[in-house]
Symmetry: C2
Subunit: 209 residues, 2 copies
DNA sequence: TAGATTGTTAATCGATTAACAATC
DNA sequence: TAGATTGTTAATCGATTAACAATC
């Protein structure tokens, strides 16, 4: 598969996937780029360009078969596999993510939760016991973990990331408000919540002027 | 202030703010675009371009005064004001956000939490009692709420958004996995968690090939 | 066959980077 | 004054949109 797909395209794929699922649920059999354009908000031209990065999924004069396209995009996104995940930091956010059952339905299987707080270690969250973070390295050696969700505070995040890199975890989903320094071969996705709030704040301030 | 700042620039502002705070804490007095470039990861040229959208904050031959620039960016981001916020949906995620004290320190003051579940209504979270969502409209009429965090499930999100639009709430921070249909004058920031996971999944799948 | 709609190339637009005169 | 570094214009790069021949 082409390795040079731009990030802009990749970031749109989940949205295609989401809208196609909706169409499928509404029993829509086929859709043209023009029709899809109207509900998803991308231009028809962009939709055709995006999809053609991965193959000719459509048919001239017909459009796209909704079910086929949905499945194809699922494949492109790697949803045919399952992934083992762990959560580090079982505070409010970590617990919230642990309880998100929808992630499981996409194939992201939670296999471990870690924390350093003795008051939290030992608790059971969504059927998984919280383990002391000191035992994480050993756990990672014995389990082939794909993705780690970092839900620690700012201070602990880099320390945790270093262990994850060493243990050859493949990806990090980072919720701590810091940019992690990691080796090139580990993929990081950041959720900097405060950044989003500041963006909103920027626009609210603008309004008043 | 210029109204035509591109979204790309705006989305970088919180990162400038974060790094300048760090420099300030480390007692760094001045910094050149070149030095900042090395720690923040944008090119020096981009940094100068970005900042010059808002004014000439630097000085030839010297660079930028860290404290001044930090304050200026804070102003640009609207951090001189405070904002009233509410949370709708007090499940795991809603509760996690309610307990995030750091938002408060940026001026985002939580004034209400709403839920429809009778088991949750009445609970006190971070000093605020969860109110029945049926009473939200009235609450919004009596309180000048700036930002609403939607932490409901997919099904309830649009229903809630409609009430928020009616009540003239200025911005929505949407955590439900759905694209809300709202009027033009309300700003929406989406956190589609599953989209981020799918992006990671895309790259993990790639690795194996 | 005629109509519709894709796949794909070309044109445009916008964002990033490079270059350098201005100036502290 | 000489050196450093900005502010800003010009060049480049990449992403989006438009156009249309191919084809179902």
């Amino acid at each position: 598969m082409d390795n040079s797909i731009s990030m802009a395209v990749i970031k749109r794929l989940p949205k295609y996937h989401r809208y196609l699922k909706e169409l499928l649920d509404r029993d829509v059999k086929r859709i043209s780029s023009k029709e899809l354009s109207e509900i998803i908000g991308f231009t028809a031209s962009q939709i055709r360009q995006d999809l053609n990065n991965f193959g000719g999924f459509g048919q001239q004069g017909y459009g796209y078969n909704v079910e086929d396209l949905y499945k194809e995009i699922g494949k492109i996104l790697g949803l045919t596999k399952t992934y083992k995940t762990v959560i580090i930091g079982a505070g409010n956010l970590g617990q919230a993510l642990a309880n998100y059952t929808s992630f499981g339905s996409y194939g992201f299987e939670l296999v471990g939760i870690f924390d350093k707080n003795p008051k939290i270690v030992g608790l059971e969250i969504n059927g998984i016991e919280v383990t002391d973070v000191d035992l994480m390295k050993k756990f990672l050696e014995n389990n082939d973990v794909d993705i780690a969700y970092i839900c620690t505070n700012k201070t602990g995040a880099q320390f945790v990331a270093d262990i994850l890199v060493q243990a050859k975890v493949k990806a990090i989903w980072n919720f701590a408000p810091v940019d992690l320094k990691v080796s090139e071969d580990i993929r990081v996705e950041n959720v900097h919540l405060i950044d989003d709030l500041l963006t909103l704040s920027y626009f609210l301030k603008e309004q008043g002027e």
